[in-house]
Symmetry: C2
Subunit: 342 residues, 2 copies
DNA sequence: CTGAAAGCGCTTACAG
DNA sequence: CTGAAAGCGCTTACAG
């Protein structure tokens, strides 16, 4: 069974291709009876217009591209699902690509998306990316781009972010309110903006509450993994550092630290209260359940898609395009790992 | 800056469009010097051939579609990432769609993929899907389809599956070897094949080891969620059922059951040994860490993509297309929740 | 209200 | 080795 084309329909109904095309697109200058015939026949024959051919004229592919570091990650899979869900409602499909924290792959993937003529690109920039010429090319190419979570100040486009500094502040403040006096921080790498912001929030909270900042109490967990957390806790233990509160860059990091502390019979939260970050699914299921900061990846995806639609609408109307930075609120979720007082 | 076309290059170099096209595709009947000029100029000008226009002639979009119930799921995000990674190596991009366990949406999404003229469709059929006419349409349409994890016997195409029956057997056998005599099973719904198979493996293991099957010890956890597990454990507790082993349909279900048991001061594994399923990330991080069955979603994705490439190759060579069913091995991972003897 | 015709950007059988 | 021409399936400005 070969695919049906406008031509086939025109022949079958003895009218022109033009009329068939117009009828299907509900042009006002086609008679009601003709429209009806065309539409009924098309439906009966299960006609599917060829999207690639349409593109040649309309320049809209109705395809979006999203580039994330990885999908195997609670936060990012949520963002992507948020985008996919809203995209579907708006009649778009989404190409998903994983850059795996590699600048080189990110560049290659963005080029592929441009070549595919996607209508929009959603990206969370790899932590290792230094040169952003590939992203500037997207903008020069007039393709809508929405950057989320890991953004760059040097791109004129809309962004969706979490207020990581505030989140770091809230997490630390909570530990202080629980009575912690010496609060450690297992931070992310030195370069990612999110790691910097959470760290700055941590410092600000200490300062605002009259606690001294001790740089010995800060360690770097480059990958934010469970292993990282375990090792940092081990390192502190061997160094004989004493602390009664811990704020970590991620929930797995918190879980790793807790695993080490348990091994040494250090009680959580009694001896050390712990707050993680991101509200991974595992945070609610560990013992003790991990207090954390919830950043809804899903809402980020939804908001990113909304900003995309706004920009498309402005372009359609030939209005001036305005860029927005949406801040998705994050909130503290208190569980067992940080609850010192009853 | 408008997009460069073959025509622009032809004009710039004073040759025909035909020759430019051939030169770029490395046809043998173009002189070396011409080829060189064309290739150098194209590179300099950052020429990107229009894929939609090519499609009109070649009928290959180099786009694949994958339909999963949801991305926010450790197993499925792994499968999708496996597909994406191998697809990238082979020069394909992947449209990802979430059917959310709805038959209606699954039908709609598959139609969209066909309309987009994707070169292949990867799907894990929704648990709620009864009518598979939309999938038969894919095959009639001559589009390659690979079904994974949740397959249907009524589709003539390649499949990638886990041997769930064997996996259920292994999990149960392990509990028996740990000395359990009354082993409960929190199974999935009655319809999904994977739930049936794991259940049958459970029964077979009991039978092979001379343990009596007691249907009171089997409860249904329709969603395989943490809450389901908690509630089933609660139900058994209230019913006064005694058991010393538990095999659950998923790791969250196991985590939920353990949470309830802890609340009642029933020790895991000493009083009740527990084995979950799927090796979710959380399984390694709970206390006690959950013994489980590892089914590598990533490998399923990789294998699905390999089968796709095989079928494409057969079609290209006009060979007869052979359908395969690949079985990805699953393995038991023993952690604390099931380790009775030291 | 209807339709002939041009054109989107590419590929390829064919002629020279 | 090179190129004119047809055609993939659609859209739309234009003529009638």
């Amino acid at each position: 069974m070969n695919k049906l084309t406008l031509k086939d329909i025109a022949q079958a109904l003895n009218i022109s291709i033009t009329t068939v095309s117009k009828a299907l697109k509900d042009y006002p200058d086609v008679s009601w009876s003709t429209k009806k015939r065309v539409i009924e026949y098309s439906k009966k024959m299960n006609f599917k217009p060829n999207v690639q051919a349409s593109y040649l004229r309309t320049r809209e592919t109705k395809i979006l591209g999203v580039v994330v570091p990885t999908l195997i990650h609670y936060f990012f899979s949520n963002v992507v699902e948020g985008i996919i869900q809203k995209a579907e409602e708006a009649g778009y499909m989404v190409l998903v690509l994983c850059a795996d924290e590699s600048e080189e792959r990110e560049k290659k993937l963005v080029k592929q998306l441009l070549q595919q003529n996607v209508d929009g690109i959603f990206i969370s920039i790899s932590h290792k990316t230094r040169d952003i010429s590939h992203l500037k090319e997207v903008l020069e190419n007039q393709t809508v781009m929405i950057v989320f979570d890991r953004i760059s100040k040097f791109l004129k486009c809309s962004n969706v972010v979490i207020n990581d500094r505030e989140a770091g502040y809230i997490a630390t403040k909570h530990l202080i309110e629980q009575g912690c006096q010496r609060i450690a921080h297992f931070r992310g790498g030195l370069l990612p903006q999110i790691a910097i912001d959470r760290y700055l929030g941590y410092r600000k909270a200490l300062e605002d509450h009259g606690l001294e900042y001790d740089k010995l109490l800060v360690d770097i967990c480059e990958n934010g993994s469970e292993k990282d957390g375990y090792q940092s806790a081990q390192k502190f233990y061997r160094a004989g550092l004493s602390y009664d509160g811990l704020f970590t860059i991620s929930d797995p990091t918190a879980a790793g630290a807790i695993r080490f502390l348990h091994k040494k019979n250090i009680r959580v939260p009694e001896d050390i209260a712990v707050v993680g970050f991101s509200n991974w699914q595992l945070a609610a299921l560990t013992t003790p359940a991990i207090s954390t900061i919830d950043q809804s990846g899903f809402l980020i995806g939804v908001e990113a898609m909304r900003l995309f639609m706004v920009e498309m609408e402005q372009r359609r109307k030939k209005e001036e395009v305005t860029f927005n930075t949406s801040i998705i609120p994050s909130k503290l979720i208190v569980r067992e790992s940080s609850l010192k007082k009853k």
